[in-house]
């Protein structure tokens, strides 16, 4: 059997798992996880075989391509609308393969982890059903070769995200967060759907309306200036979709709230996979963006602004999951910055490493939350490294990775982004990115310090009951720690022309040509070396600052936390405003509340008033006036025969008279 024939299974298995579990999962009780987990296990195996073949070049060449290896399945007809036929097929090319590695591996590990994490929840079966629905949607998203099918998957991941954020449906905050996530995502989707419509119109102008991703982009580029809708508009509309799903400013507000969902969900959907969809989308449409430099600048600017905004907020949050959520935003900002400067490979590289270490950190935080009895506030944690050593060790690896300390994975990908930005002459991106790297190291080790080092600040009764999570949860942590540590060494070397570059070159070479970036050789003992030194230096600086303020406890490295210094620093005149801004998330939630709930609500209420009083009021007034007029005319009907007779006589006179006048009298 060929791999192509197995591709549909990647979708059908999770879909089947979802349907079976959703309809009859309740009867399975505590064994409801078997079908979903096994489905994802098989998916993982199939995906890994396919990925290995694609990346090593063992797979056949894609149709219509000279250098890209991959698999295709389909196409199947979906919407036949006149001359626009929307079909969908599945494609595994190197880019999809990279995404498959992240999605299926982390997906599988999160499924396994959830067996332990959700074991006491009454909605156990429901949770696994939703997870499989999500896996189906996410796999559809990365496999689809058609814009509209991508959009379908786009909305379906949104749906699964809605269901999973609102999983604990009795909590009002969960309901509101789920709603917020869906609606904010819809704002981005609005742009995306218009972008798709624009693509239809443009390709129709080229004589062949199509929504196939590759074909349509080729047509659009070939048409150039002759497109009815300018390419830069199309690119920005598509980017709007990406902004929503990947929570880029100003649509970033939903992601922190999404932490209301169970922690495995935060790890899988809101850190490692779904939020990467925007990055994937732009990487997929890379020639489109590469041909519109102004759109690229917008992408870079939004990305790097989100990076610094989110990092600044992450510095003061006290909820462990929210710190990680803002950190995710910030890292996604990095990826968009990379896309914007034309470093597509670096963006995908960071996507992969970030998927692993952020997934690890979230699952670790879940383990912490479990250990301290569903407490998420870091102010009531501390000193946990002694009680939960495996969680601690794995999270430490994750923190070092995200902080960008060599040779852990985050270092390679982040350094590549900064280096490429510098070399593409986006100095402002590089500068801000460097500063964000400092903040990243700082807030991550603030988190570590508050959580694992120092002394426990929660109730003493809980301290005695804290214990390490069961093996079904710790093993995924360990398995995730391995790529977090080693993925950079595995695919990020040799520097400058890494393995990953080799894999993705066929996907991105068109864009690279369009961008016409200067091809410089990699100089480890020149500019590149200096850049590496700079980023490592700032990372270490951030780390040391965090250690000084929030303490450290690493064998001989030992320092107490200095909360009084933190208080003093945050009260300093210049810093106090920044501190308050960070603590209040730069007031974006309040702004949105004012704009959309208060003002928007008033507008809606006023419109309803308009509807009742003016539109419907007019209708009712016409009805009422008719009745009133009827009453008025009714008064003429006196009931007296003589009045009627008078009327008849007068009428007769008028008729006869006018006859005489009109005909000029009797002849």
């Amino acid at each position: 059997m060929t791999i192509e024939a197995l591709l549909p299974l990647l979708l059908l298995l999770p879909l089947g798992g979802f349907l079976v579990t959703a309809f009859i999962g309740r009867r399975f009780g505590k064994s409801a996880h078997w079908i979903p987990v096994l489905a994802i296990l098989v998916v993982w195996i199939i995906a890994m075989v396919a990925v290995a073949n694609v990346l090593t070049g063992a797979a056949p060449l894609l149709p219509g391509s000279e250098d890209t290896h991959g698999y295709v399945a389909g196409p199947w007809a979906w919407i036949p609308a006149g001359d626009l036929h929307i079909d969908f097929g599945l494609v595994v090319d190197p880019l999809t393969a990279c995404l498959l590695i992240v999605v299926t591996t982390i997906g599988l590990l999160v499924h396994v982890y959830s067996i332990g994490y959700m074991s006491h929840d009454p909605g156990y079966w429901r949770f696994f059903a939703y997870l499989n629905l999500f896996m189906f949607s996410m796999l559809l998203l990365v496999l689809a070769d058609n814009w509209l099918v991508v959009f379908v998957a786009w909305e379906l991941v949104g749906l699964s995200s809605y269901l999973l954020i609102g999983f604990w449906y009795r909590k009002r905050s969960a309901q509101l967060a789920a709603k917020k996530a869906f609606i904010v995502n819809r704002v981005g989707d609005l742009g995306f759907v218009l972008g798709i419509a624009a693509i239809v119109v443009n390709t129709a102008a080229a004589g062949h309306p199509t929504l196939n991703v590759r074909e349509s982009i080729e047509l659009l580029l070939a048409q150039g200036e002759a497109n009815p809708i300018p390419l830069v508009v199309v690119a920005l509309l598509v980017f709007a979709g990406a902004m929503g799903k990947s929570a880029q400013f100003p649509l970033h507000v939903w992601l922190p709230d999404a932490m209301e969902g169970p922690t495995p969900v935060s790890a899988l959907i809101h850190a490692a996979t779904m939020v990467n969809a925007g990055v994937y989308l732009i990487a997929r449409a890379n020639p489109l963006f590469a041909s519109t430099p102004s759109a690229m600048v917008v992408v870079a600017a939004i990305g790097i602004f989100t990076a610094i905004l989110a990092a600044s907020i992450a510095m003061t949050q006290t909820d462990i999951k929210r710190v990680l959520a803002y950190s995710t935003l910030s890292q996604l900002g990095y990826m968009f910055a990379a896309l914007g400067v034309g470093a597509f490979t670096a963006a995908i590289f960071h996507l992969m490493t970030h998927g692993f270490f952020k997934g690890l950190l979230f699952l670790g935080s879940g383990s912490v939350i479990h250990a301290v009895h569903e407490e998420q506030d870091m102010r009531r944690m501390g000193g946990l490294s002694r009680k939960i050593p495996i969680t601690y060790a794995t999270m430490f690896v994750g923190s070092i990775a995200i902080a960008g300390i060599p040779p852990f994975a985050g270092f390679f990908s982040k350094d590549e982004i900064l280096g490429e930005a510098f070399k593409a002459s986006f100095y402002w991106v590089w500068g801000v990115g460097l500063f964000v790297a400092l903040l990243t190291a700082f807030y991550m080790f603030r988190l570590m310090g508050l959580t694992f080092w120092g002394s426990f600040r929660g109730p003493a009764a809980i301290w005695d009951k804290i214990h390490e999570s069961p093996r079904v949860m710790t093993v995924p942590l360990i398995l995730l720690a391995i790529p977090s540590a080693l993925l950079g060494l595995a695919i990020g070397l040799p520097l400058g022309s890494s393995v990953l570059h080799g894999w993705l070159e066929p996907v991105f070479h068109h864009a690279t040509e369009l961008l016409a970036l200067p091809h410089e050789s990699y100089e480890l003992f020149g500019v590149d070396g200096a850049l590496i030194l700079a980023s490592v230096t700032v990372a270490v600086a951030g780390l040391v600052a965090a250690w000084r303020l929030f303490g450290v406890d690493l064998g001989r490295f030992r320092a107490p936390a200095r909360p009084e210094d933190v208080r003093e620093l945050s009260a300093r005149p210049g810093l106090s405003f920044l501190y308050r801004a960070s603590l209040n998330k730069w007031w974006f939630d309040d702004l949105n509340h004012l704009l959309f709930i208060v003002i928007g609500g008033r507008i809606a209420a006023a419109m309803w008033w308009f509807d009742r009083e003016v539109v419907d009021g007019t209708v009712n007034a016409i009805g009422r006036q008719t009745v009133v007029a009827g009453r008025g005319l009714g008064r003429v009907q006196t009931g007296h025969v003589q009045n009627y007779a008078l009327g008849i006589a007068l009428g007769l006179i008028v008729i006869a008279g006018s006859y005489l006048i009109l005909t000029g009298g009797p002849r």
Partner: protein, 105 residues
């Protein structure tokens, strides 16, 4: 002058006008019925006059027949009308039509 059609028609018109004024202006139901009779007779006069001055071979006879017909109908009508007026009078205790507003309800 006295022997022309116009003279009779003018007389008929005057009678009709008096009748219709009576019908519209009088309040007593009996007077109104009498006014109706007056109008009918005005018409009769006109018909007979047309018959006498008409051109046909036996126009005069036709006019007379019509006039007799109208008289018969008028008699029947007056009977019915009087019956109704008396019925209402028994009910309302008044011959004045101002009080008759049953049609309003």
């Amino acid at each position: 002058m006295s022997d022309s059609l116009d003279t009779y028609l003018i007389l008929s018109g005057i009678l009709f006008a008096i009748g219709s004024f009576g019908f519209l202006a009088r309040r007593n139901a009996i007077s109104m019925l009498m006014s109706i009779e007056l109008m009918l007779n005005a018409v009769n006069l006109a018909i007979v006059a047309f018959g006498v001055f008409g051109a046909g071979p036996d126009a005069s006879a036709q006019g007379a027949v019509f006039a007799l017909m109208v008289m018969a109908v008028a008699a029947a009508e007056a009977t019915v009308g009087l019956a109704i007026v008396i019925a209402i009078y028994r009910n309302k205790k008044t011959p004045l039509v101002d009080e008759y507003d049953a049609m309003r309800q």
